[in-house]
């Protein structure tokens, strides 16, 4: 192991694969997921590569599978996901797969086409059925009114006045016999009726008569399966000219016209015929559906499996496209990054691949030397990965740099908890985290697409730890939904008599006489919950605690930089940066922390000597500011100036040394570099003089090599740049340590805000219900508790939790990591089927 502290050691390898064995070998490596291939033909575009045909075939297969999947989803057939992971099939199996998919797709398309045609037929017949049924009513009316207008006039002159005047009189006059009227019947979308009617009226100048009736049941559109409402209409008119005009309009409105016999007997016969045909069609349609269902069910059983296979084949060919062909075309050359630890495993996988392909020539794996920076590979498990993600979100560690993730596992939940200290809220988070951790497997199998849920689930171990630590700090602060737990009994007692209590509004408990003189066993004494000066007391405590944690955290960060310097053999950095940095931090800020401890230990109410009673206890902040300004303290009367003799001198010394560290950090490294460069220049000029004329070509060769090395170039940087860089670095550190120390006060600020918010919520919401007198109070408590619970979750746990989380993240990224972490690396992205399949599955959804 050990790889949690630093990224894995990587090496660039050259891999020679025999053409026949290449596929099987790459397939094995894909299962392993430990090799990152480099693209050796970056200039060749995707269509000119060797295996472009195979990739294309895979794309085609994928398209067919997606089509199948879409159809399966449409029919709501459950797809069997056994979670099994079939190996990448042999290249020759690809043809079988292709044939299967081709057959399935064709079958499905045919079935769909047939079904659509049948449905269209069915729709037509249904419409015809409706027409025959609805128009019957019209014809019944027409028997008197329209078909024989003359008699209609006699029968009922008041009705259908328009038609009567229009046709009756003139018709009589023209021919003296009843007019023969034509008609068309059809079906139209219901919403088009008003426009259709108006159009007919205008285009035919009112010479046509339209009757319509709605079809109550919605009809299914065969092309897209939507349900549409339609109406039956029948149009009566006179003459061929009008007929063509009417037909044109019907066409324009996409109305379907159906032949409708004129004689009632014909109509009846036709209706009978239509009914039988509809019944026949129904059986055929049912059979078609059954067939389609059978095909899809059979496909659904295998589809996940097929997807995996096809995606694996595609990934393999895609990788093979990155390889170089050697001159003989007999073997493929690949370059890849490999973790040194796994070389054996990779060799084994390659051997398996060769055996599977039946090739006799073993593949060759050669380690190569390179000046390129290898990728950063941190091996993680499900517990550490969430923390690694938090770190990587800021910047991926430079190769082999100290990885802050293992320390973050403890410091992250802890600093979060300092801001979120509450047993109740901590328990909610803890239980939520615990549930996710315990139900890990079923929850992971669900593969939710909800982004927020995935974030929570991915960070389940972080949440679990944050909850546990919050419960701990909550016990220290003695806060549970803003109420204190009196577990051990308060160590304070009231010694006032009744008359004193009656006479005064606010009384202070004197620690000298009303305190048992040893602290509450664990955390805050519960009596503080009722005290008026609770906030003042807690502020002093939490501020000091925050600064102490902050200085410890930053010093830890600085000491990690020592480890980095040692590892990378940057000895000068230790003398020119690390040591002055530590001195600066210790002599200023750690000194302030030490003063806090001295104050805590030295001053007590029980002391007889006034110089060590709380009366004389100095303010640490004022002392520290005075120290930085070279000022003397202004003690109260009868108090000493310093906490201990010699403190003034010691502080001045500390400050001067700390200030001297600034030029040390600023100048030492550039000066050393300049001196080093001067020394280098001397022997170089000497050696060129010593060269014999015969060795000239070699020399140029050497020079061309040095140009190729990026490291050499860096050293030639001019002095100005180095000075500027060092200046920025120094200013950043010096100003940073001041501002970062102050920045840790956010621990106090957020903790105060959280405690106050939860207290206000209790008082304003739940407290009101509790105060209610009488038995109705029970109901009030019941209702208001629900309200309070929702607000607790929403505001205190979610929103406050998120804010505390972000502040913790900042403390880690900025205050902690700036001390040692450069984060300039890039991630190791191995060729792995697991990753490829996962990302493909996510794209699907």
């Amino acid at each position: 192991m050990g790889s949690l502290f630093r990224s894995e050691e990587m090496t660039l390898c050259q891999l020679f694969l025999q053409s026949e064995a290449a596929y099987a070998c790459v397939s094995e490596l894909g299962e392993l997921g430990l090799v990152q291939f480099r693209d050796l033909n970056p200039d060749v575009n995707a269509f000119q590569r060797k295996f472009v045909n195979e990739v294309r075939r895979c794309d085609e297969m994928e398209r067919k599978l997606r089509y199948l999947e879409k159809e399966i989803k449409k029919d709501e057939i459950p797809m069997l996901d056994t979670g099994e992971n079939p190996e990448a099939p042999q290249p020759r199996e690809m043809i079988d797969l292709e044939a299967t998919f081709e057959k399935l797709e064709n079958e499905l398309r045919e079935v769909n086409q047939n079904a659509e045609a049948l449905k269209r037929n069915f729709l037509e017949l249904t419409e015809l059925k409706h027409i025959l049924r609805k128009t019957q009513v019209f014809f019944d009316e027409a028997d008197y009114g329209l078909y024989y207008p003359y008699s209609s006039q006699m029968a009922d002159p008041s009705r259908e006045e328009e038609q009567v005047t229009l046709l009756g009189e003139e018709g009589l006059r023209a021919g003296g016999q009843p007019m023969k009227l034509g008609f068309v019947a059809g079906v139209i979308l219901r919403e088009r009726i008003p426009a259709f009617e108006r159009m007919l009226w205008r285009a035919c100048r009112g010479n046509v008569f339209l009757r319509q009736a709605e079809i109550e049941t919605p009809l299914e559109d065969p092309s897209n399966g939507d349900e549409v409402f339609k109406s039956v209409f029948i149009i009566f008119f006179q003459g061929d000219q009008l007929k063509t005009r009417v037909k044109k309009i019907c066409e324009g409105f996409r109305a379907t016209l159906y032949p409708c016999p004129e004689a009632p007997a014909d109509r009846r016969e036709m209706a009978m015929g239509v009914m039988t045909r509809i019944e026949d069609l129904n059986t055929v349609l049912g059979q078609t559906q059954d067939h389609r269902h059978r095909v899809l069910v059979a496909a659904a059983k295998n589809i996940k499996n097929w997807f995996v296979k096809v995606r694996k084949i595609k990934a393999i060919y895609h990788t093979l496209n990155n390889f170089n062909l050697d001159v003989t075309q007999k073997c493929l050359i690949a370059e890849c990054w490999v973790p040194v630890q796994d070389l054996e495993t990779i060799q084994l996988a390659l051997r398996r691949g060769t055996e599977r392909s039946g090739s006799s020539v073993p593949p060759i794996l050669n380690r190569m030397d390179t000046f390129e920076d290898p990728p950063t590979y941190n091996r993680t498990n499900k517990f550490t990965s969430a923390f690694q993600v938090l770190i990587d979100a800021y910047g991926v560690a430079t190769y082999r740099e100290v990885n802050p993730a293992p320390y973050t596992i403890i410091t992250f939940p802890f600093l979060f908890a300092v801001m979120f200290g509450d047993v109740g809220h901590g328990m909610i988070i803890f239980l939520f985290g615990l549930w996710m951790v315990l139900k890990e497997k079923p929850l992971a199998a669900k593969k939710s697409t909800n982004e927020i849920w995935n974030i929570f689930f991915g960070g389940r171990y972080v949440i679990l730890l944050m909850g546990a630590f919050s419960m701990y700090t909550g016990l220290i602060y003695n806060d549970m939904f803003s109420k204190s737990l009196n577990i051990f009994g308060s160590y304070w007692y009231v010694d006032y008599n009744v008359s004193t209590i009656h006479g005064n509004g606010n009384l202070q408990l004197d620690p000298k006489s009303m305190y048992v003189n040893h602290p509450y066993p664990f955390g805050m004494d519960p009596i503080w919950q009722l005290a008026d000066n609770k906030i003042i007391f807690l502020n002093a405590y939490k501020m000091k605690i925050s600064i102490i944690f902050g200085v410890a955290h930053m010093l830890f960060g600085v000491s990690l930089s020592l480890w980095n310097n040692q590892y990378f053999q940057r000895k000068t950095n230790i003398y020119t940066e690390f040591i002055p940095q530590v001195i600066f931090m210790c002599f200023l800020f750690m000194w302030m922390c030490i003063l806090m401890f001295i104050k805590w230990i030295k001053y007590s109410a029980h002391n007889e000597d006034i110089e060590v009673t709380p009366y004389c206890a100095p303010s640490i902040l004022i002392t520290f500011i005075n120290m930085c300004l070279f000022k003397k303290g202004t003690p109260l009367p009868k108090c000493p100036e310093w906490m201990f003799p010699g403190q003034g001198g010691l502080q001045q010394l500390f400050l001067i040394i700390a200030l001297l560290c600034i030029p040390w950090m600023l100048l030492a490294k550039p000066l050393l570099i300049i001196r080093g460069q001067r020394k280098q220049h001397m022997p170089l000029t000497n050696s060129s003089n010593h060269h014999a004329p015969g060795t000239e070509p070699e020399n140029t060769d050497l020079e061309s090599q040095t140009v190729a090395l990026p490291h050499k170039e860096e050293e030639d940087n001019n002095i100005g740049e180095i000075m500027i860089h060092q200046g920025i670095h120094t200013i950043e550190y010096v100003l940073g340590s001041v501002s970062h120390t102050a920045s840790y006060l956010r621990l106090w600020a957020l903790s105060l805000a959280h405690a106050q918010l939860s207290e206000v919520l209790w008082k304003m919401v739940l407290g009101n219900a509790m105060k209610m007198q009488g038995w109705a109070g029970g109901i009030a408590v019941w209702i208001i508790f629900a309200f309070w619970a929702v607000l607790t979750i929403g505001i205190l746990v979610l929103m406050e939790g998120l804010s505390a989380f972000l502040h913790t993240l900042r403390l880690h990224w900025v205050e902690f990591q700036s001390k040692f972490y450069s984060g300039l690396g890039y991630t190791f992205q191995p060729f792995s089927f697991e990753v490829i399949l996962e990302s493909a599955a996510q794209n699907d959804e």
């Binding site: 204190s484 009196n486 009744v498 509790m770 109070g777 029970g778 009030a780 408590v781 019941w782 508790f785």
Partner: protein
């Protein structure tokens, strides 16, 4: 009979479980006259006589304790109802699948 959806019944389940635990405990704390809850019993008037003060405080504490327990009982009912709804929902979703 199905009244609530799966999410609502789950929320009811969690809320009422939490309510039962917290309110029963709070009732106990009121009953033993926890000083930490003194601010929440609605003692407004200033009483000069200590005996009177104590008796008043005691009735208020007991009252609050019973109020908490009443609320807890209602939450037990809600818990049973939500659990039943949850069960019904899980059954129907199973039969669908």
């Amino acid at each position: 009979m199905k009244v609530c959806g799966p999410t609502l019944s789950l929320c009811g389940l969690i809320l009422s479980a939490w309510g039962v635990v917290q309110l029963v405990l709070m009732g106990v704390f009121y009953y033993i006259k926890s000083v930490a809850l003194f601010e929440d019993i609605g003692m407004e008037e200033k009483l000069d006589d200590p005996a009177e003060f104590y008796s008043k405080a005691e009735t208020l504490y007991t009252q609050s304790a019973f109020n908490c327990w009443i609320a807890a009982c209602i939450y037990v009912l809600l818990l049973i109802f939500s659990a039943h709804q949850f069960y019904v929902n899980s059954q129907s979703s199973h039969s669908h699948a």
